[in-house]
Each structure stands twice: as C-alpha cells, then as structure tokens.
C-alpha cells in the first residue's frame, strides 16, 4: 500500500494522525508545496463537515450567560447589557432606545451624549444597577438605521456629491477583492484537479508498464514456441519417448534433440505435482556420468515444456527422478520416467 500512496493519501493520513493526537489543529501539509497546502486545507474542511451530520441542539440559556459573564470577568468588562439581552429595568429608567432601537446606544449616540465628558479609556465603570439575575433571552432588538430628523443641509449635500468618487473607488475595490478571492479559489480547485490528474496519470503509467512487461513475456513465449516448433520439425531431429518406469502409469513425455545434439525440447504430460519439499529433477546420462539438467515442478493437468540450448556431449539416456527440494548432486531415488528408445527421423 505504501508504494501507491499519493500526496492526497498522505494528506488524509496526516489528518487522521492529527485526529489521534487530538490537538485540535488543522491538518498539516505533507510537504512544503502549494498543492500539499491546498489538499491539507480541503481535508481539514472535510473533517469539519463530518460533524455537520449531527442534529444541532440548543444549549441552555444559562450556558450563554455564564460564558459571557466569564468573558466579562476575564477582561474586566462589566457592561453586561452589551451582549446579553436584559429584562427592562423598573422605575424611571427607560428601556434603552425604545421600540425598534438598539438595546444600548450606538457609538455615535454615545459620543453625542458624552460630549462634555472626557473620553473614557479602559474598562467602563459598573453601572449602578441592581444585579441582574440570569434572564430568559429576549428577542434581539434590531438596530434601526438612524433616520435624519431634518433634510440635509447644503454643505452635507455638497459633501455627499464630493464623496461619490470615493464610493465608486470603494465599490471597485470591493469588486476587485471579490474577483481576486474567486480567482484564488479557482486556482486552488485547479491545483486539486491537477493533483488528481497526476495521480491518474501515474496509475495509467503503471498499467502501461505492466502491459509492456506482459507483451515482452508474450513475445518471449512466442519465440520459445517458434524455436521449439523449428526444432521438432527439423529434418534430422531425434525423438525419444519417455515412459514411466514404475508406478506413475499416466505420465508420458517426449524429448526432441536437434541435429547438433545440443538444442533440445521436452514435453511432459500427466506428471502429478511433487509433494511438499520435493522437486522433480532431470538427468542426462552421458560419457562424463549422470549430469543434472535442472529441477522443476508441475501443476495438475499441465503439459510441461522444457528446453535448452545445451546438452552434455554424447548423451545416451535421459531420466527424471523425484528429489528433495532444490535438487540433488546425483539421483537418489529410482527414475520415474526414462527414455524408451531413440528414433532418428532423418
């Protein structure tokens, strides 16, 4: 599996490792490249989306209140009305802003009401109100746009007329920003597509290499067949039928020897597969003694074909024995098959 891992696979595995570690950090890119960073980002978002599968459930209102109170404590802010909806205060204190107005003065309103006071910095003082129990949340009050009480003055109108190029420039900048964001996004997607195509290309290359290897093997097989065919049809070929010596009544074989007495081809039928730890071994009986021609095994029902370009000089006989796995230096068991005569077809 490791050999086939793509950058995408590595990224996912890194994401899984990050999950195991439980750091809560986004996925780290597998390598310092833009593609790796994009993939890391994409799979980080996939992990984030996995949790979207769950049905959301609203926390208790107290959880929110406690959180905001803790935040206020931590930062020394005591302005609880800022974020937490509060019930209306009794007595002469009016509801902030009345209907349709924000629950607290907007910054501009605040500055207007405090024109005579020095600007406050740091935490605001605690308002002198009674502690507010944790309230049931009220609907958020929509912030109404400030409505001018009177028609704008000429100077204001002139100011507005003078500011339209600024507004136009801002709009253009906004459009450009959006466009560049879109382009960045498109590029990220293209990177992912390229990576995916690279991965597919690598897969196709592997397939092509495999097909080429198979073609080479097939060509070699054809060459072997052609060579064998040329041998068995040669005008001066010598043929030796191989017959079972004892026991293996179904096994048969035929040895073809070329006129040069070097090149040979043998076909074997009906030899059962050797037992575990055993191999068949071919032997040539020649002037120099009994020489091994190599070991082999068979599969059920298979016609086994053996051939070579060499054979010991003055070979007089051929036989096959069953030996221990890997072969023996000399025949250690009785022959299973043996040449039964030599027929010269010249």
């Amino acid at each position: 599996m490791k050999q086939d891992l793509t950058l995408e696979d590595h990224t996912i595995l890194a994401a899984l490792e990050a999950l195991e570690g439980g750091t809560g950090e986004p996925v780290t890119p597998h390598e310092p490249s833009e593609t790796a960073e994009t993939l890391a980002r994409l799979y980080t978002e996939v992990l984030g989306l996995v949790a979207c599968d769950l049905e959301p459930s609203a926390p208790r209102p107290e959880t929110r209140s406690q959180l905001l109170a803790a935040v206020a404590r931590e930062s020394g802010i005591h302005a609880q009305p800022v974020v937490d909806p509060i019930p209306p205060l009794p007595g002469p204190l009016p509801r902030a802003g009345g209907e349709g107005a924000p629950s607290r003065p907007m910054p501009s309103q605040e500055s207007e009401s405090q024109t005579a006071k020095p600007r406050e910095t740091g935490p605001r003082p605690v308002p002198a109100v009674r502690p507010v129990p944790v309230p049931a949340p009220l609907p958020r009050v929509a912030v109404a746009p400030a409505v001018p009480a009177a028609p704008p003055s000429r100077s204001a109108a002139a100011s507005r007329r003078g500011s339209w190029p600024l507004a136009l420039a801002a709009s253009v900048a906004l459009v450009l920003a959006g466009l560049s964001g879109w382009l960045v996004q498109q590029r990220a997607e293209q990177e992912v597509t390229i990576e995916s195509l690279r991965s597919e290309l690598a897969g196709e290359r592997r397939k092509a290499e495999k097909a080429l290897a198979e073609a080479v093997e097939a060509r070699q097989g054809v060459e072997r067949m052609r060579s064998s065919f040329a041998l068995v049809t040669a005008p001066a070929v010598t043929i030796s039928p191989l017959r079972p010596v004892e026991g293996l009544g179904l096994a048969r074989g035929t040895l073809f020897v070329a006129p040069d007495h070097q090149h040979w081809y043998m076909a074997l039928h009906g030899l059962p597969p050797a037992a575990a730890g055993r191999d068949y071994q071919l032997w040539w009986v020649a002037d120099e003694g009994t020489v091994s021609g190599g070991t082999f095994d068979t599969r059920p029902g298979e016609t086994l074909e053996l051939s070579s370009e060499t054979m010991p000089a003055n070979t007089r006989d051929v036989m096959i024995t069953l030996e221990t796995d890997g072969g023996a230096a000399a025949p250690s068991s009785p022959a299973i098959l043996r040449a039964a005569g030599v027929y010269d077809l010249s």
Partner: protein, 186 residues
C-alpha cells in the same frame, strides 16, 4: 458579517462578536460534544471552555488553514475527547458514580440554525449516509471516539491496511461529494 471578521473583532476584545459567534455555532458544537461525551452537562462545559479559549486565543486562528466553523469543530472535538479519556479513568475508579443518563436527543428549536446551515447539514448527512457502512464506521470511530487506525483495526478485527484503505476512501468520497460545501468554507 463573516465568521472571520467576527474572530478579528474577538481579537480586539469585542464581546458582541463572541456572542454572535456563539449564537451561530453553539448548537452544532454542543451536538458534537454531546455525541462524543454522551452527557449534556459535560458537553456544555466543553462548549464554554472552547468559547473562552476563543476569547483568549483568537489570534491563533489562521484563516489560511481552516474556516472558523471547522476550527471550532476541531477544538471542540479535541477537548471533548480529552475529557472523555480522562473521564474514563475517573469512571474506572468511581464506577458509575453520579452517572447522568445521556440527554435524550431532541430536535433543535426553531430558528436555532439558519436555513443555510440546515441545508448544509442535510447535504452532509445525505452524503454520510451514502458511504458504505464499513467506511462510515471506521471514519466515525476515528472522529468521534478518537481511536487510532491501529485501535480501530483491533476493535473491528481487520488488518490495519484495510482500515486505512476504508478511511482513505471515505475521506476522498466526502471531499468529492461535498465540493460545493467546502468551497463555501474556503
């Protein structure tokens, strides 16, 4: 106002921004914490911890590496699994003491999620349901139980390579199927 802008305002110590982020994400995050921990009380504590963490560490958010919602999901998941692991140790000592039965699953109240979030959830759920059961199983074991691939292989009785292959396939399918949802988060 986008989540990223709100995080910037949190960084400027603006509690309104934190409250807005809480209102947007708390229901989904609570569901996640509860799915991992089983107990609503624990889940709500984690939720508070995470938003306090956000208040104090908003600067650690990197918009180049994740969306705000995903960042929050990963932090909640991580805190919940940490708590689950430590709770398992405690539970072994105090067997079932103070055991609170898991809160019943209940539908979210109206308005708790925006139409946009609801549609996204439905799409994700549909795609998760389309995953082959064996792929979904290993992904959920990794995500919700914090198990390593080796641990999952041991639990389901499969070779590690098979578990990894299933998880890889699940993640790739989700990435492909949720392309538009991911694009919205980028």
């Amino acid at each position: 106002m986008t989540d990223a802008v709100l995080v910037r305002r949190v960084l400027e110590r603006n509690p309104e921004a934190l409250a807005e982020l809480y209102d947007r994400h708390a229901p989904a995050l609570l569901a996640l914490a509860r799915r991992i921990l089983g107990r609503t009380s624990d889940a709500e504590e984690v939720l508070q911890e995470v938003f306090l963490h956000l208040w104090n560490n908003a600067g650690r958010y990197d918009p180049a590496r994740s969306s705000v919602s995903t960042w929050l999901v990963l932090v909640v998941r991580s805190r919940s699994i940490d708590r689950l692991r430590s709770r398992k140790v405690v539970d072994r000592v105090h067997e079932a003491a103070h055991l609170e039965s898991p809160a019943p699953e209940h539908a979210s109240p109206d308005g708790v999620e925006s139409v946009f979030i609801r549609e996204r959830r439905q799409r994700v759920k549909a795609e998760m349901d389309l995953l082959p059961a064996e792929q979904k199983q290993v992904l959920e074991m990794a995500f919700y139980q914090g198990l390593s691939q080796t641990e999952i292989a041991g639990l389901v009785g499969l070779p590690l390579g098979t578990v990894k292959t299933r998880t890889l396939l699940a993640m790739k399918k989700l990435r492909s199927a949720l392309r538009s949802e991911i694009r919205e988060l980028l």
